[in-house]
């Protein structure tokens, strides 16, 4: 299973929200991904993947993470930091009130 699918599922579980992936090798999903990246992410003619977003209950979309071009292991470290972050703890805390 790809790194960011595995870690993304973990993040979604911690947040108590569904996890959705958009596969850019599938044309319909690629179009949706392009819209998301263009509107809220790190856009470029050949943009970096993965890009991770959180959709809030009011419809707002928040960009959380873009993969590191240096190497996959650096993206893995970034996922671990995100999962251990104060930001995630505070969102989970707010959500459980």
């Amino acid at each position: 299973m790809p790194l960011s699918v595995r870690k993304g599922r973990l993040l979604a579980k911690r947040l108590g929200v569904p996890f959705r992936t958009l596969d850019i090798d599938r044309p319909a999903e690629e179009r949706a991904a392009d819209r998301l990246v263009r509107g809220h992410g790190d856009d470029a003619p050949d943009y970096l993947i993965p890009q991770v977003f959180l959709e809030w209950s009011d419809g707002a979309v928040q960009h959380l993470l873009t993969g590191f071009s240096e190497k996959v292991a650096r993206t893995s470290d970034a996922w671990d930091a995100l999962l251990a972050s104060e930001w995630l703890r505070s969102v989970v805390r707010e959500g459980s009130r």
């Binding site: 470029a44 240096e70 190497k71 995100l82």
Partner: protein, 174 residues
């Protein structure tokens, strides 16, 4: 006092990563070189001992999009300039939570919020018009005002740098 857009030490440290080995070329350790420019952010060039470039990155603490200035700077450093294509420039925003506790706390204190924008320049191996494979090389000889990027055969050495070659060919006294 640092320049606006320059990365504080805590963010520079959070963005660092071990360079790894040269992929599909020589498997030797990639070296990380920091390069100075007129831009306020931090440049890193990752290249193997032969000069084959894995990736070049520029990081700035800013809300602006630095891609245009990165493209201009890279074109000044590259022979021919057309080697720097928009297609090969990719941006990433680093917000803080993905950079570890210290960087997250540091970025959270800043109002209004601004993240770190990183622009990557990665040129994948390509075929020249004659069908031969080309890789992106870099030469860091001190005679240059900055790095020199150029394309050459994977079996080439840094000695094929076009700027160094021009210097060698120039008639004495010219």
């Amino acid at each position: 006092m640092s320049r606006r857009g320059a990365l504080p030490a805590v963010l520079r440290a959070a963005l660092e990563s071990t360079p790894g080995t040269c992929y599909r070329h020589c498997d030797r350790p990639v070296r990380l070189r920091t390069v100075a420019s007129s831009l306020p952010g931090t440049w890193h060039v990752r290249a193997c001992p032969s000069g084959v470039v894995s990736v070049t990155s520029y990081a700035e603490w800013t809300r602006r999009d630095p891609v245009d200035s990165v493209r201009r700077t890279l074109r000044r450093w590259t022979v021919p300039r057309s080697l720097v294509r928009s297609w090969d420039l990719r941006t990433a925003t680093r917000h803080g939570p993905e950079l570890g506790r210290r960087a997250e706390a540091s970025l959270a204190r800043v109002r209004p919020a601004r993240g770190v924008r990183v622009v990557y320049w990665r040129v994948y191996p390509f075929r020249a018009k004659d069908g031969t494979e080309r890789r992106l090389f870099v030469c860091f000889r001190r005679a240059h005002p900055g790095p020199v990027f150029f394309a050459a055969s994977p079996s080439s050495k840094r000695s094929e740098c076009p700027v160094c070659a021009q210097r060698v060919r120039r008639p004495r006294g010219a």
